[in-house]
């Protein structure tokens, strides 16, 4: 399994990252996820993303490795941005390439669920009234339950 993990201030290109994964003979399915700065109607001006350098890369590497143990994956790319982001800008890119569609979909959701709970990123939203740290959602923690093995 080829793994690419990057944390960066610069924007990323879905097309460029996809081109690096899709050409392999054994790949039958690629699932991509892009998270973007969404407008809460009329309210949001942008956001700042902080992270814990070192731990971020380590946690993302562990999450991707766990996905690779559960499903047959050819390649996984995770790119997460930090710093200042404006409305509609891209935040995170995940690409999962596999021989099989179901494996690619399941691994993608697994990686995003764990990223949301265990990768040390924090969002601070900027609105007309100032800046405020985003509170974690209970639903993100609850999403991990679906991956617990019996």
């Amino acid at each position: 399994m080829d793994v690419t993990i990057r944390v960066q201030e610069a924007d990323f290109s879905l097309a460029d990252e996809y081109a690096l994964l899709a050409g392999r003979a054994e790949v039958g399915a690629v699932v991509a996820f892009v998270g973007l700065v969404r407008d809460v109607p009329g309210r949001l001006a942008g956001m700042t993303l902080e992270h814990y350098p070192g731990m971020t890369e380590k946690q993302l590497g562990m999450i991707v490795a766990q996905a690779g143990e559960r499903w047959p994956l050819s390649a996984v790319t995770v790119v997460h941005r930090v710093g200042e982001l404006k409305l509609s800008e891209q935040i995170v890119l995940l690409l999962v390439a596999s021989a099989h569609r179901d494996a690619a979909f399941a691994a993608s959701q697994f990686i995003m669920d764990f990223l949301k709970n265990e990768a040390p990123f924090w969002k601070k939203e900027t609105t007309g009234e100032g800046a405020a740290w985003v509170e974690a959602k209970d639903s993100d923690a609850a999403a991990l339950l679906r991956w617990s093995r019996e």
Binding site: G54, M55, I91, V92, M112, L115, N117, W122, E135
Partner: protein, 87 residues
């Protein structure tokens, strides 16, 4: 009992509220995360508010998520931060 030195890092909202991003502390060898938290709560004020039980926080030891019962190794890098909100 012998003592050890650890680094403690604070991130995001916790760093803002505590006005501290990093400090070095001496703890007895064998101390757990719970012991560290008790030491911080004893400082009172915002420290007691944040770590005294009223608010949720997360901890990492040497860049792995850790629970309060875990023993902190010597020279560890401990981080305390709010629940994460990336993705």
């Amino acid at each position: 009992m012998a003592s050890m030195t650890i680094r403690v890092l604070y991130f995001a909202r916790l760093r803002d509220v505590l006005r501290t991003s990093e400090e070095t502390l001496a703890l007895p060898e064998g101390a757990t995360l719970a012991d560290l938290v008790a030491l911080l709560v004893a400082r009172g004020g915002d420290w007691a508010t944040e770590f005294g039980g009223a608010r949720v926080f997360r901890a990492a030891i040497n860049q792995d998520m850790a629970s309060l019962a875990e023993v902190i190794p010597a020279d560890a890098e401990v981080a305390l931060f709010p629940p994460v909100t990336g993705g």
